[in-house]
């Protein structure tokens, strides 16, 4: 699973990169949108304030032009009705010809107005920075307006909610600063994040104020939920893709296994056919050779009848042998269990089976300088098919002998132990060979697994199948002192 672990790391990395890039993009878009909104609002604010300022000029111009005459005694001069119309115009003052302004500041402003031919500013007499006075020099009467700055904002048309908006708006003239909207003071003081600001002169030369708008966009105001949502969406999509990928891999693996299974079945058939071919070819060769020899002997003059007869008898015996091979094959294909029950009425003596196999393998043992004897303290009879037991024992001994080829002659030991163990009879075939490699130990009984070059890998597989078919077992292990030990366990005759 190392490969899939690596691919997981890539999935994670890819997911993190896409999430982060997307989040940054979302944040930037949000910041840009906020900036655009801020600038639009600031421009609207500037325009609204400029309109007001221009209106002050217009009012003064109108007064200067109409020159309402001196009021009748006791009557209110007409310009005094202006504060009622415009709440932010707190007062209107006039200086008739040959009169003087009550405040020298107004006189100075009038002089400036006369010089610049436009209205001029004068500070509020009580030092209230939230007010200013605007003086226009005219003949015969000059006028002055006292204006409350905060009152001149047309809140009805204001583009922002004044009490909640994070934007700070102020009119600034030199050191004089009149806040119109407080904004988010804490954020503006903190200074982390992004700062938007807007400076522009009022569009009225008579009132040289700067409209200053500022906004501080803090980290907390980023669209975290949208960013999180994006990351979640990316994760979900990646998880889905990974899941699909995993499913595809699993499906491919399943297909591969299926294909392997088919190949294995074909191999099994091939091996079975090869084994059959050999097993049948031997007797068929003998049958053919015997009958053809007999033909030749009978064709002799005089015919050698005795030899021909014996050759024919041999041919008959070999034909039976071929038939036995077919029968044995069928028996192997069928389960040997039911045969075991009826075939061994008296049970099988394990030590006898070992002796029979040793007898057959005597030349093999001799060539390796071995003369093994089964160690059986007491006779052990098991409930089993004698043919199957012979086959298993033969295979185990042959394996052990071949394993011993790998060690020098004086180090070769083959120990065959027969003993009862629980309800089972046990045969242990222990050799002093090189033992079973760890990686082979688990696969030893798999069909077609062989550690021998050219081995079919069917021997132990068949033995295990046979042993299990007789309610027994076949296991393999390495001995602590070196070499391998195979243990065949079969149910005891008396136990069943």
């Amino acid at each position: 699973m190392r490969a899939s672990g690596g691919s997981w790391r890539w999935w994670w990395l890819g997911g993190a990169v896409v999430s982060a890039a997307g989040a940054v993009l979302i944040a930037r878009q949000a910041i840009d949108a906020q900036r655009a909104l801020f600038e639009t609002d600031a421009r609207i604010v500037h325009r609204l304030l400029s309109q007001q300022a221009v209106q002050h000029d217009a009012i003064l111009d109108t007064l200067a032009l109409l020159q309402p005459g001196p009021p009748a005694a006791g009557a209110q001069p007409p310009e005094q009705r202006l504060p009622a119309l415009y709440p932010h115009i707190l007062a209107v003052q006039r200086r008739d010809r040959d009169q003087a302004w009550p405040d020298p500041a107004l006189a100075a402003a009038e002089a400036a107005s006369r010089r610049d031919r436009r209205a001029a500013l004068a500070p509020s007499p009580d030092g209230d920075t939230a007010r200013f006075r605007l003086v226009l020099a005219a003949e015969p009467t000059s006028y002055a307006l006292t204006i409350a700055v905060r009152g001149m904002v047309p809140w009805a048309e204001w583009p922002m909610p004044p009490d909640r908006s994070p934007v700070r708006v102020a009119l600034v003239r030199g050191a004089q600063r009149i806040d119109l909207q407080a904004g988010d003071a804490a954020a503006l003081a903190g200074g982390s994040g992004w700062r938007f600001s807007f400076h522009k002169h009022l569009a009225a030369a008579s009132q040289p104020f700067d409209v200053v708008a500022e906004r501080q966009l803090g980290w907390a105001q980023l669209p975290w939920w949208r960013m999180l949502g994006w990351a979640a969406a990316v994760t979900a999509v990646l998880a889905l893709m990974a899941q699909l990928q995993r499913q595809r891999t699993a499906r491919r693996r399943a297909e591969e296994l299926l294909r392997l299974g088919q190949v294995a079945r074909l191999n099994t058939l091939g091996e079975l056919a090869a084994g059959m071919a050999h097993e049948l070819n031997q007797p068929l060769t003998a049958v053919l050779a015997n009958t053809q020899a007999a033909q030749r002997l009978l064709a002799d003059d005089p015919p050698e009848l005795d030899t021909a007869r014996s050759a024919m008898a041999q041919a008959v015996a070999q034909a039976r042998r071929a038939a036995d091979v077919v029968g044995r094959l069928r028996a192997v294909v069928e389960r040997p269990a039911h045969r075991a029950a009826e075939a061994s009425a008296g049970g099988v003596d394990l030590a006898d089976a070992v002796r029979r196999a040793l007898h057959l393998l005597e030349p093999e043992c001799r060539r390796r300088g071995l003369a093994p004897e089964p160690q059986a303290p007491a006779p052990v009879r098991v409930q089993a098919d004698p043919v199957a037991v012979d086959q298993i024992v033969h295979n185990l001994l042959m394996n052990a002998l071949q394993a011993l080829d790998a060690v020098p002659a004086d180090a070769r030991r083959l120990t065959l132990t027969v003993l009862p163990a629980g309800g089972h009879g046990e045969l242990r075939v222990a050799d002093s060979g090189p033992g079973i490699p760890a990686e082979a130990l688990t696969r030893l009984f798999e069909p077609f697994f062989s550690t021998r070059e050219g081995g079919l890998g069917l021997g132990l597989s068949l033995c295990e199948t046979l042993a299990q078919g007789m309610n027994g077992s076949l296991t393999a292990a390495n001995r602590p002192e070196g070499g391998a030990v195979f243990t065949l366990r079969l149910p005891l005759k008396d136990a069943s």
């Binding site: 050999h278 060769t285 003998a286 053919l288 050779a289 030749r296 041999q314 070999q318 042998r321 093999e364």
Partner: protein, 208 residues
């Protein structure tokens, strides 16, 4: 030489196959020595005898192809006929490459086997005869004196007595004497026979 009674060595671990094939081969008058164990055969068979070897490919312990390799490595000159139950192309190729004379499939037809065996025995006899004649020629050649070998070389090269005398700075009479001696020692009855039998040996010595 025991050419009169060629012996067929038959190696097969299966007793029934061994006995029946021995019987079949015996019907044409060939003597058969059966062997059950290839190892015992390798240790015990008569390498000098005329005959052939019939070898089963599939045997426990040691494969027929391994036995074949061993025989070839030991310089055994008896032809080897391989028998197999299921011969693959690869196995067949390996057998011929290793020096098998014939490769037959079991069950084997009597005529095929017997013909192969008779061919093998004939081939072996011829090869032994050639070998024998070769050895005799070598022995006779070894009896020649240095001067006689020189004269023989020039005769084989096609020179006349006079030319040989000039080449070796000898009188034509002396050349004639050497010529008569080497014809006698090599038991050659004619110039043609002399050249046919000894030209190769002369080349061999010139080369060496």
């Amino acid at each position: 030489m025991s050419t009169l009674s060629p012996t067929i060595h038959l190696i097969d671990d299966d007793a029934a196959v061994r006995d029946s094939l021995a019987l079949l081969i015996g019907t044409v008058g060939l003597r058969v020595t059966p062997w059950a164990d290839p190892q015992v055969f390798l240790e015990g068979f008569d390498r000098e005898a005329i005959g052939a070897i019939v070898l089963d490919v599939r045997m426990p312990g040691i494969s027929g192809l391994t036995v074949l390799d061993t025989l070839v490595a030991q310089g055994v000159d008896q032809p080897v006929i391989m028998l197999t139950g299921h011969g693959t192309v690869d196995m067949c190729r390996r057998a011929f490459k290793a020096g098998a004379a014939e490769f037959l499939e079991k069950p084997v037809n009597d005529e095929l086997l017997i013909e192969a065996l008779q061919n093998a025995v004939r081939q072996h006899v011829r090869s032994r005869e050639r070998h024998q004649a070769d050895r005799e020629a070598r022995e006779r050649y070894a009896q020649l004196s240095e001067r006689e070998r020189e004269v023989l070389g020039l005769i084989v090269a096609g020179l006349t007595n006079k030319e040989i005398g000039r080449a070796l700075d000898l009188s034509p009479r002396t050349v004639e004497t050497h010529r008569a001696n080497l014809f006698a020692k090599l038991q050659a009855e004619s110039l043609a026979q002399l050249i046919r039998r000894y030209a190769a040996l002369v080349d061999e010595h010139d080369g060496g």
